[in-house]
Amino acid sequence: MAEARLPSQNPRAGVPFVLPALAMLAAMILVPGVYVLWLSFHASSFGQSPTYVGFANYAKILADPYFWRALKNTVIVVLTVVHVELLLGLGVALLFANGLPFRKLLIACVLAPYAVSEVGAVVMWRTMFDPDAGLVTRLMLGFGLTPLEWSVVPMHGLILVSLLSIWLHLPFTFIILYAARLSIPKDLYEAAELDGATAWQSFRRITLPLLMPAILIAMLFRYIFAYRLFSEVWLLTGGGPARQTEVVAIYLYLEAFRYNNFGTATATGWLMVLTSLVLALVYLRKLYREMLARDA
């Protein structure tokens, strides 16, 4: 049956199938992305024709204290959110991996925040931390703690943003780590137990090293996605008081849509793209090798 050509013998036949996906990404993400790059070297606002200004927009942002504050806030929140989330996710994954009654129901509970919108989450968390009647505020007062004054004290605002971000995204981190933990063969632990290893030793020598790739992947993805943080801050503090809780995405939005500085907004946008790519570099390099090795 030599006439029956395998589809893989003519790779060009596969192109029509992938074309719609590529066209969509090009139209909605690639072309706008490149256009942003071009715009970032021009001075423009809506309705005006752009004029070339070189790196002036970049110079302007880098000299703007509000940009630096936004960047600092973003770094603080991203570092806190991602690392706390990984620790919690790992903890819950290990707790669940040891076998539990009603496992399916319990997993459903842990996944529940995944279904909640950012707006919904903001409603929940600001209600719990309501300065007068919030459940958590009253609990904290009851324990003699000072409650969060998140609408007044900028750092408290950022803490609340971090808390609700962790809450929203823990399901993602949990699933990745839990699936990775379940794929570790049981006999490794049995062998360790026969050799008299303590729980801590088998965690250090088996669980942690074998989970490392999944931990790194989860961390990377969460860095990249946490960095985009917009809605939570916008809906909770709006970047205030006095622009003190702005993050980079809020800064970009305000520059573009409130202050009408399209040039600086696009420059901020490209700085975001560049930093995202730097964050993803290790992952992309590894992926590039794997994917291009696949067809060799």
């Binding site: 049956m1 029956a4 589809p7 060009r12 036949a13 596969g14 192109v15 029509p16 199938f17 992938v18 719609p20 996906a21 590529l22 969509m24 990404l25 909605m28 993400i29 690639l30 706008p32 992305g33 942003v36 819950v92 707790l95 997993i107 529940a112 925040p113 995944y114 279904a115 919108s117 707006v119 409603v123 929940m124 209600t127 719990m128 009647a133 809450w167 823990l170 993602f172 699933i175 699936a179 993805f221 990249i224 960095y227 985009r228 917009f230 809605s231 995405a249 970009l252 849509f257 946008g269 975001m272 793209v273 995202s276 790519l277 993803a280 992309l284 994917m291 291009l292 696949r294 067809d295």
Partner: protein
């Protein structure tokens, strides 16, 4: 104490610790949701009163108020539904086609295009809103379903494609070859061989797009103003309302918007986990 009692004590303690940890995990995950749902069924006056009245009398008054005062919210729900269905359909179809393409044909060109799909997905969405805003206006697409459908689908096509490729890779090629011997074209192979066997993958992709499109805020905030406003956007307007926020109504709206997708996620938990492990983290 004998060594035996020490051992029993230790085991009890470990059990207690695990029970406590589990309780904390549950309170953390479900507590905020439960609180809002309960508050939605509580009379507005009592929600924030520090001294709780003795018995909790569930009431529908917040939902009635929501219906009477915020017709916008229900239009928003309908808009969300239309946009979600549109984006899901588009993303699943396009991802399945591309997943089939990448699974069954290999070349340097294809591999590098798959790679650039993944790299593109890493761009922050807010960056693309800047140039899209004037373009969308120029095409008169502002405040339409179409712009949201295209954006939501575009941001999930890369992940969807990788999930579909992983699932289609598992379908034996011998089946393709057998169909080919019978003279089937690639499109016929896709329809008769692949489609009936890759439903799991399509469900997984659909779940991600549905949850995302139903809840999305940023794009809806920037690209819709009146007619195509989605439910989360209307909710944000309720919370940001200048003349006093009626929290009871906000809680009712939050509950109505949340419950369908929450039930959906709980029912589809197996597919969600499979999907995430199949493609989300590979690319």
């Amino acid at each position: 104490m004998t060594p035996d009692t020490v051992l029993v004590l230790k085991r009890r303690l470990a059990q207690l610790g695990r029970g406590l940890a589990l309780a904390l995990v549950l309170i953390w995950s479900v507590g905020p949701i439960t609180m809002i749902v309960v508050a939605a069924f509580t009379p507005e006056k009592e929600i924030f009163s520090v001294t709780k009245s003795a018995g909790w009398q569930p009431t529908l008054e917040n939902f009635v108020m929501l219906w009477a005062k915020w017709g916008d919210f229900f239009t928003g729900l309908l808009n969300s539904l239309i946009v979600t269905l549109g984006a899901t359909l588009l993303a699943v179809v396009v991802s399945t086609l591309a997943g089939f393409g990448y699974s069954r044909w290999q070349s340097r060109l294809l591999a590098s295009s798959a790679f650039s799909m993944i790299a593109l997905r890493l761009l922050p969405p807010i960056v693309t809103t800047l140039p899209l805003f004037p373009i969308v206006n120029a095409f008169g697409l502002n405040d339409t379903y179409l712009v949201l459908i295209l954006l939501y689908a575009a941001f999930f096509v890369s992940m969807g494609t990788m999930v579909m490729r992983t699932f289609i890779d598992q379908i034996p090629r011998e089946l393709d070859e057998a169909a080919m011997v019978d003279g089937a074209t690639s499109l016929q192979i896709l329809r008769r061989v692949i489609l009936p066997l890759c439903g799991q993958g399509m469900i997984a992709v659909a779940i991600f797009v549905i949850v995302y499109a139903w809840n999305e805020f940023l794009f809806a905030f920037i690209f819709t103003t009146k007619f195509a406003k989605t439910a989360p956007l209307v909710m944000s307007e309720m919370v940001g309302s200048l003349d006093g926020v009626e929290w009871g109504v906000v809680f009712a709206a939050t509950t109505v918007q949340l419950l369908p997708v929450l039930i959906f996620v709980v029912l589809c938990q197996r597919h969600l986990i499979e999907g995430l492990t199949a493609g989300a983290t590979k690319g």
